[in-house]
C-alpha cells in the first residue's frame, strides 16, 4: 500500500516537473491547474459527482497539525472525506511555510489554484487583475442553507468580500466576538494572602497593585513598549482606542485621539510617576514583559482572554500552581457597566479562480466543513467528527473552511455546562460534546492534576470567574461598541501601515515618562491628523459613515 503510494507520488512529481518544464518554455494562457474538465454537478448539493472531479488548491504549512498514521497535507481525514462523500479529489498545488510570499509569486505568475484563501488586500488585487470568479450564481445555487444563514447573519462582514454588489470572496469569519474582550488579571495567592476581594473600582485595582509591589517586590502594573495594557485600561474612561467610533455629531472618529484618551493618559502618567507601572516598560517588548510576569515581578496585568495560554503556563511552571491569575472585569470610572471594543475580525476570504471548471465542487467542500460544525452533531458518529476535528486537522483545510462565528460562544456554553456537572460529581457523556471534548478534558486535567497545559482552557471557560463567562455577559447584554470600520482598511490606512498609530504611541510614551506635559496630547493628535489621520477620517466617513 505504502510502496504503491510512493510510486504514484513519484509519477505525479515527474509529471509535475514536465509540466513545469513546458511551463518555462511556453506560458500557458490562463491557469494550468485544470486536471479535469467541467463535470455536470448533481442537483442535490450533498450528492457525489458521477465521475471523479479534481480541483486544485494552495495551502499554508502549519506546525499545529499532528498528522496521524502517515497522514500528510494531501492525504488526511478531510481530503479522504471529500473523495468518499463527493467524489472530489482536492489536489494541493503547493503547501508553503511562507504562504503570503508564495501566493504573491503565484499571482504574478498567473498560476493560481482553483480555490485558496487570501487577505483583503490580495482580494482587491485579484479582483482588479480579473483573476477570480464572480461567485453570485454558484453561491446562490450550491451554498448550503447554513452557509447562507452565516451570510445573512453576518451581512456586514460578507459584504467586505463583494465588489459592486457581487460576491468575489467568501468571508471565512472568525470564532466570534466573544474572544475580543479585555480583563484585569490578578494573581490569586497574593490576593488571598492580602485579603482582597474582586476589585469594584479602579482605585481598588491600584490598591491591590501597590500592595503587591510593596509586599512582594517588583512593580504594580505590567506594561510594554506598545502601550497595549494602557489601551486596555483606557476602556475604563469610556475610550475605545484602536477602533473607529461614532461621535456626538454623528460623524466617525478614531478612538485613540478622542478626549477620553487624554483623561486616561493623565491618570496613567500619574501612576507611572508614583512608580506603580513597570519603570522599564518603554524599552520592553512583549516577550520581555511576559518574562517579567513569569519571574513573578508583578501580580496585576490588564490583558486579553488568552493570558491563560501565554504566559500563564510558564508562570505556573516557574512559580507554582497557586500563582494562578484570575480575570476580572475592568471597572469604569463612574461605575457604569463597561463597554468593550469589538473590531472587524475575518480570517480571510475563500476565492475561486476565474478558470475553475467546477466551482460547484468548491461549494461542496465549503458546505461540508460548515456541516461538520453544525448539524452533523448527532447525525454523524462521534468518532467520525472527532477524526476530522482533532489533532488540529481543521488547519489543513485553512484555505477552504468557513468558521462558525458563534463557535466559541456555543463552545463555552457546552464546555462550562459539562465541566460544572463533572465538578458536581456527575457522569458526563463526552459524546454530546462533539468537537469540544478536548477543551472539556483539559479543564478536567487542570482540576485533577494541575496540568499547566490545561490552565488556559480552564481560565477561558471552566472556572468561575472565566474570561468567556464574563465575555458572554458582554455579548448577551451588548456591552460593547462595534468598530465603525467594519471591513478592511481604507487606502490611506493601508499605505500608512503602522506609522499612524506609531505617532500616537510615541507621543503617549513621552507623556507617560514625564518628558512632556499632558497637554502635549493635543499636539500629538495634531501630528496624527497631519500625517494622514485627517485623510483617513475623511475616507472612513465616506466608506463606512451613514
Amino acid at each position: 500500500m505504502r510502496r504503491s503510494y510512493i510510486k504514484t507520488a513519484a509519477v505525479v512529481m515527474a509529471g509535475a516537473m514536465m509540466l513545469n518544464l513546458t511551463g518555462c518554455m511556453t506560458k500557458p494562457s490562463g491557469s494550468s491547474s485544470q486536471v479535469s474538465g467541467h463535470v455536470e454537478a448533481p442537483e442535490d448539493i450533498w450528492a457525489p459527482y458521477p465521475e471523479k472531479v479534481t480541483i486544485t488548491t494552495m495551502g499554508e504549512e502549519n506546525s499545529g497539525t499532528e498528522f496521524q498514521n502517515g497522514d500528510d497535507y494531501q492525504n488526511n481525514p478531510w481530503y479522504r472525506a471529500y473523495k468518499e462523500r463527493f467524489n472530489i479529489n482536492l489536489q494541493n498545488k503547493w503547501i508553503s511555510n511562507d504562504y503570503s510570499t508564495k501566493l504573491n509569486l503565484a499571482i504574478a505568475d498567473k498560476d493560481i489554484a482553483d480555490v485558496f484563501y487570501v487577505d483583503s488586500a490580495r482580494l482587491t488585487t485579484l479582483y482588479e487583475a480579473g483573476m477570480i470568479m464572480n461567485l453570485d450564481e454558484v453561491f446562490d445555487k450550491y451554498a448550503s442553507d447554513v452557509l447562507k444563514k452565516y451570510r445573512e447573519e453576518n451581512k456586514d462582514t460578507w459584504d467586505t468580500g463583494c465588489f459592486d454588489g457581487s460576491l468575489y470572496g467568501m468571508a471565512q469569519m472568525s470564532y466570534g466576538i466573544i474572544d475580543q474582550f479585555q480583563y484585569i488579571w490578578i494573581r490569586q495567592d497574593w490576593m488571598k494572602e492580602c485579603g482582597f476581594d474582586a476589585p469594584k473600582t479602579m482605585d481598588d485595582v491600584i490598591e491591590i497593585a501597590t500592595t503587591f509591589a510593596k509586599k512582594y517586590g517588583g512593580y504594580g502594573l505590567a506594561e510594554c513598549q506598545t502601550l497595549e495594557n494602557f489601551y486596555r485600561l483606557a476602556l475604563s474612561w469610556g475610550a475605545h482606542p484602536g477602533i473607529w467610533v461614532e461621535q456626538d455629531d454623528g460623524t466617525l472618529g478614531y478612538g485613540t485621539v478622542q478626549p477620553e484618551m487624554k483623561e486616561a493618559l493623565a491618570q496613567y502618567a500619574e501612576w507611572y510617576k508614583e512608580g506603580i507601572i513597570n519603570p522599564n516598560f518603554a524599552t520592553l517588548d512583549w516577550d520581555k514583559m511576559a518574562q517579567g510576569m513569569i519571574n513573578g515581578e508583578c501580580g496585576v496585568i490588564p490583558f486579553a482572554q488568552w493570558f491563560g495560554y501565554n504566559p500563564l503556563p510558564d508562570l505556573i511552571k516557574n512559580q507554582g500552581p497557586e500563582a494562578i491569575f484570575y480575570p476580572y472585569e475592568i471597572p469604569t470610572q463612574d461605575g457604569s457597566p463597561i463597554m468593550g471594543s469589538v473590531t472587524f475580525n475575518n480570517n480571510g476570504y475563500v476565492v475561486i479562480s476565474k478558470d475553475c471548471q467546477n466551482p460547484e465542487a468548491v461549494m461542496k467542500i465549503v458546505n461540508f466543513y460548515v456541516y461538520t460544525v453544525n448539524d452533523a452533531v448527532g447525525k454523524e458518529s462521534n468518532e467520525y467528527l472527532s477524526e476530522l476535528h482533532s489533532f488540529n486537522y481543521p488547519n489543513v483545510v485553512r484555505g477552504t473552511r468557513i468558521i462558525n462565528p458563534m463557535n466559541d460562544y456555543n463552545q463555552y456554553i457546552q464546555v462550562k455546562d459539562a465541566y460544572d456537572r463533572w465538578a458536581a460529581g456527575e457522569d458526563v457523556d463526552t459524546s454530546d460534546l462533539g468537537t469540544n471534548v478536548s477543551k472539556f478534558e483539559s479543564c478536567v486535567n487542570w482540576n485533577t492534576s494541575q496540568d499547566p497545559n490545561g490552565v488556559g482552557d480552564w481560565l477561558q471557560q471552566g472556572n468561575d470567574p472565566s474570561a468567556y463567562g464574563i465575555a458572554k455577559k458582554y455579548v448577551d447584554e451588548e456591552q460593547y461598541v462595534k468598530d465603525a470600520k467594519w471591513g478592511p482598511d481604507t487606502a490611506t490606512l493601508q499605505a500608512a501601515g503602522s506609522t499612524l498609530n506609531d505617532i500616537l504611541v510615541e507621543g503617549f510614551t513621552k507623556i507617560i515618562l514625564g518628558e512632556q506635559p499632558i497637554d502635549y496630547f493635543d499636539e500629538v493628535v495634531q501630528q496624527w491628523y497631519t500625517a494622514g489621520g485627517e485623510k483617513a477620517t475623511q475616507e472612513i466617513n465616506e466608506t463606512y459613515g451613514k
Binding site: K110, N280, A282, L513
Partner: protein, 300 residues
C-alpha cells in the same frame, strides 16, 4: 606594458573572450532587472505586473510628506556616518597596534577574540545587549559601583544613537582589523629595516611607513562602505529600539518596515530603494573622484 600596447587589442582577444561570460551574466542579472524600477512610479498590483496603473511621483511625494519620515533620513545619516568613521579608525588603530606586538601567539589570540562577535546575528546580540545595558544590567552595575549615575542606554533618545554606533563598531571591528592586518603583512620588511638603520623610532616608522602604505586599503574600504551610508543597520536597530527612542533612533529602513512592506506595499518599497540607491551612487562616485583628485588614490 609597452609591448602589449603596440600589439594592440587583437592579440588580447583571449582575455576579452574570457571576460564575455561575466559581462553577459552581469548584464542579465544586474542591468535588465533595473527595468523593475518603474514599480516605484506605479500603483503596483502583483496580478497586473509591470503594466500596473501609472502613479508618477506619487509614491515619493507620499513618503516625503510624512512628518515622521524626514527625521529618519537625518537619523540614518547620523548613525551611519559615525559607524563609518569609527568603523575605519578603530580597526586601523587596532591592526597597527596588533602588528606591533612581539608575541605572535598573543596576536593571534586577540585577533580571534575580537573577530568572534562578528559572527553572531543581531537577533541574538540584541538579547545580550538588552540584558547588559538594562537598568539593572552589568554596565549600570559597574557605573553605580563607581558612584556614577545609571545611563538609560536603550531608553533615552539622547544616548540611543551612540549605543547603536558603539555596539556596532564593537561587533564589527574584528573583521576590519583582519583585513588591515592582511594589508600590513604585505608591507616590505626591508623598509622598516632601513628606517631602523636611519634611527627612526617606532612611532616614526608607523607614521611614515605603515600608515601611508595602508592608505590605499583604507580608501578602498571606505569607498566600498560609503555605498552603505543609507543602511544604518536594520537588524541591529529593529531589535533594540522602542517608541521612546524613535525620535533619534528610527532610521529609513525601520520606518519603511513599519510602513508595511510586509503588507505587500511594493511601490513605496521600490521608491525608498530607488531613493537610497541614487543617494548612495552619488556618494560613491563623489568620494571616488575626491580621493583621486585630492590624494591621488585610485582604486582601479
Amino acid at each position: 606594458m609597452k609591448k602589449n600596447k603596440k600589439q594592440g587589442a587583437a592579440s588580447l582577444w583571449q582575455y576579452y573572450a574570457m571576460l564575455v561570460p561575466g559581462v553577459i551574466l552581469t548584464f542579465i542579472f544586474s542591468y535588465i532587472p533595473l527595468y523593475g524600477i518603474i514599480i516605484a512610479f506605479e500603483k503596483y498590483n502583483v496580478g497586473m505586473g509591470f503594466s500596473s496603473p501609472w502613479a508618477g511621483l506619487e509614491n515619493f511625494r507620499y513618503l516625503f510628506s510624512q512628518p515622521t519620515f524626514t527625521r529618519t533620513i537625518w537619523n540614518t545619516l547620523f548613525i551611519a556616518v559615525w559607524k563609518l568613521a569609527l568603523g575605519v579608525i578603530v580597526p586601523v588603530t587596532v591592526a597597527v597596534l596588533l602588528n606591533e606586538m612581539i608575541s605572535d601567539r598573543l596576536k593571534r589570540i586577540y585577533q580571534t577574540l575580537i573577530y568572534i562577535p562578528n559572527f553572531l546575528s543581531w537577533v541574538i546580540m540584541a538579547g545580550v545587549l538588552m540584558d547588559i545595558l538594562g537598568s539593572d544590567g552589568a554596565i549600570n552595575g559597574i557605573l553605580n559601583a563607581l558612584g556614577l549615575q545609571s545611563v538609560n542606554f536603550l531608553g533615552s533618545a539622547k544616548v540611543f544613537p551612540w549605543t547603536m554606533i558603539f555596539s556596532d563598531v564593537w561587533k564589527g571591528f574584528g573583521y576590519g582589523t583582519v583585513v588591515y592586518l592582511a594589508a600590513l603583512t604585505g608591507i616590505d620588511v626591508s623598509l622598516y629595516e632601513s628606517a631602523k638603520l636611519d634611527g627612526a623610532t617606532r612611532w616614526q616608522q608607523i607614521k611614515s611607513i605603515t600608515i601611508p602604505l595602508l592608505m590605499p586599503t583604507i580608501i578602498l574600504m571606505t569607498v566600498l562602505s560609503l555605498g552603505n551610508v543609507l543602511n544604518a543597520g536594520f537588524d541591529q536597530i529593529y531589535n533594540l529600539y522602542s517608541p521612546a527612542v524613535w525620535e533619534t533612533g528610527d532610521v529609513i529602513d525601520t520606518y519603511v518596515y513599519r510602513l508595511g512592506i510586509q503588507q505587500a506595499q511594493y511601490s513605496v518599497g521600490a521608491a525608498v530603494g530607488l531613493f537610497k540607491s541614487v543617494v548612495s551612487a552619488i556618494l560613491v562616485v563623489t568620494s571616488y573622484v575626491l580621493a583621486d583628485k585630492l590624494a591621488g588614490y585610485r582604486i582601479l
